[in-house]
Subunit: 467 residues, 2 copies
């Protein structure tokens, strides 16, 4: 069935314009001047009055299972925080299902239609974990890229001078992980259903060159997104110097891991040379401003990156390091945070630029530029209709500025993913939201903070990073 | 009538505890271990199950009439932004009424029970402006301190080397402003009704010493709060050097303007010596993190200030520089922002500290420590009850961390101000919210951006600050 949205405000060519938009099954069919498309029989007609229609945002980086750890782990630097994340990661397949559902709902209700789940795996139940995530995303109806988090070096190897700490063994070798990834890709990668598998080596800090390179080879062969953490913390920067003697970005480049299908989460500690190199490869940097402040990771050089032509998108990061999964919050902070790094206001991000990063930039970061992120005929209808009459978007000034710089709440009226209505009148159409909330209310997470592992790492961290 | 809240989670002595709380008319009567207070006839009984009870926050700095300019003015440094604020300030008394109502509602629904309105005045209708604000706050039932924004130097005098720009004349001399303030205090200062007048000279940058000092004298004589902007921007820092040759803090100190009733908005550019001096006087710094990023003012040295014993509270600042008036958003950003200035996580703010700043710290900043900001018998019942079953506060982990570090939405279930229920089941009890929203939807603001004044200031700003 076709859907006609009449006289709706949109952002076209960086300007607010009122247009008619016709959706045809899965795609955007026509965009025409307001009042020029007349409804035909059997078309569903939606009034665009007091509404704003934007392409769906892409959440470029999250870890859906951390929903269970929201509000759990105190503010600590990544390296100490991680010890606690591992110790409290859910271990039931069903929790991964609900984590995916919850993350998908939060994404949709904050303007997103697509997410990158850099997914934890239950050891020994990797296939079942991915199966649960896929079920969750398909039940909700969001577009999802799932990049299983894999690593073949132990946790402590990811710390500078970490070789001094007791080492645990890795559950699998690089080649075993790569074999598993082949299986997961074959079983779960399903673009027609809006489910994509990506290659997700944790980061150089906990991956051998063999694993990093093997993932790049699989990404090339299957034309899949390559997603990895990059220089999130000062400690990782220091580790790269210890281990490689060159920048981690240069190292990844030499291994052949950087290209237009690569997206790199964080990049807080990249320098000017790294920025140039990243930009030249066509890779995407995913900026996670809330998480970066929450973990004290620092300020990613976003303005410099954009000036160098680097594609930058936004990510929420997991709910253990950003205790909300709200894209509008992340976009707001990402828009205003970088004023502290540059006093010249001509360089500051505008709401229009931020929306471009969240949509077009986000789609490129998950290797889906040809499908989503743009209100253009022929693209999939991944669209969000905002209610400009909501009190949090009053008074009537600049709707884009209110959306990006305000604190919009419950403003998402309708969402379509591949043309299918997923949200109507602010309500989820595909799942029973109460079942989700009951699951969150009653499932328990094993809380185990400040374990012996944490204490060992803390003592090491103090010595290496704070003295 | 007495109200008994049974078995409710609270923060007592920096620890979560479940207690019974009895409210007696205007005040907190008793706090007892959970289950020990039995309901008496004629007591209203409220179940505290799955609820969190906290003292109301204080919004330590805002400008209520800027509600009309929300989403209007682009991201610009304060000095250029201000030219546009002046050019688009509402000029109708009724708009000031609705600005107060809107700000009060946003404050209450984000956990606040008291605010400091550093209030714009309609020239020639100063009395009528304050009257409208008082009506607005009383109709809603919030506790409000109104400090009229007064200045006797022209706008351009507030810019470094601003003497080079054309000067407009000030509408009143210092002594005329002080006479007016006497009249406003006599007519409107009414602690029994929860309405307080404060002295609000705009800031050293646009006030003569005579006005700054005269306000201090009135503050002493009437025991009122003294509230002023302080070193919000680098330009103001430069101006203080030009004009006084010493720090603006030292200058205010020498004029006798700093004391325990003084609260200073921003203080982004105070140095270590200023911090020591401010702490020694017992003054309060009001931290406005969202506004500071939105205007690119910089990072206030909050961690250093707290370590020096300086009282610091939170402010939203006006809606033209923080396009939302949500205290929970401000508290979150204020809690995580300062990790970028100090890598040692032992110094980072905890949710408990942030809540202390927003309540006890906020009350001290508006000279109301003896009345509000604390869940203690004998204090006024300015209390907020949060619904921990709301999806944005799930799953069940640490409720304080979810409240401060999450993105809570519609979690305020009940609010009492001086014992009077103002919000019940998330709904305003005192005013018709639809009338407010209709007013916001239909009143127009005269939009006049980038006037000749703006362009003159911009050219000057570029020359003085960016070259």
């Amino acid at each position: 069935m076709q859907t006609l949205i009449q006289s709706v405000l949109t952002l076209q060519h960086n300007r607010l314009q009122t247009v008619d938009v016709l959706l045809d099954d899965e795609q955007i069919h026509t965009i025409a001047p307001a009042g020029t498309l007349s409804p035909l029989p059997q078309q569903q007609v939606i009034s665009g009055q007091d509404k704003l229609l934007l392409p769906g945002f892409v959440n470029g980086h999250t870890h859906s299972s951390q929903v269970w750890q929201r509000g759990l782990i105190p503010q600590l630097p990544l390296e100490l925080w991680l010890a606690n994340v591992f110790d409290s990661t859910p271990q039931q397949v069903e929790q991964f299902y609900w984590g995916a559902v919850s993350t998908a709902v939060d994404t949709l209700l904050s303007g997103g239609t697509c997410l990158m789940d850099h997914a934890y795996l239950i050891p020994g139940q990797e296939r079942e974990t991915i199966d649960a995530l896929v079920r969750g995303y398909q039940d909700v109806g969001i577009r999802a890229v799932i990049a299983p988090l894999i690593q073949d070096l132990p946790f402590t190897a990811g710390l500078p001078s970490g070789c001094l700490l007791p080492q645990s063994s890795s559950p699998r070798s690089a080649s075993q992980w790569l074999d598993l990834m082949e299986i997961l890709i074959a079983e779960f990668h399903d673009p027609d259903c809006g489910i994509y598998i990506g290659l997700g080596p944790t980061g150089f800090h906990r991956c051998s060159d063999e694993l990093l390179q093997g993932c790049a080879e699989l990404s090339d062969r299957h034309q899949l997104c390559y997603h990895t953490h990059l220089l999130e913390t000062r400690a990782q920067h220091q580790l790269a110097q210890e281990r490689y003697g060159i920048s981690a970005v240069e190292h990844l480049y030499q291994l052949g891991c950087l290209g237009s299908r690569t997206s790199l989460a964080h990049g807080v500690w990249i320098d000017d040379t790294d920025i140039e190199l990243l930009a030249s490869t066509g890779a995407t940097l995913v900026h996670n401003p809330v998480s970066n402040l929450r973990l004290g990771s620092g300020l990613a050089p976003v303005l410099k990156g954009l000036q160098a032509g680097l594609n930058i998108s936004f990510g929420c990061d997991g709910a253990a390091s950003n205790d909300a999964q709200n894209l509008l919050e992340v976009i707001k902070l990402g828009t205003i945070l970088h004023t502290v790094s540059d006093p010249d206001y001509k360089n500051w991000l505008t709401p229009e630029q931020a929306l471009q990063m969240a949509t077009v930039g986000g789609a490129k970061g998950v290797n889906l530029s040809d499908r989503t992120g743009s209100l253009t005929p022929g693209m999939d209808a991944d669209l969000v209709l905002y209610n400009l009459n909501h009190p949090s978007l009053l008074p009537r000034t600049n709707p884009l500025q209110l959306l990006v710089l305000g604190r919009p709440t419950e403003v998402v009226e309708s969402v379509w993913v591949k043309g299918k209505p997923i949200v109507k009148q602010g309500q989820m159409m595909t799942i029973d939201i109460h079942t989700l909330h009951n699951a969150l209310r009653h499932h328990a997470v094993e809380i185990s903070l400040f374990s012996p592992q944490h204490r060992a790492v803390e003592s090491h961290y103090h010595q290496v990073m704070l003295h």
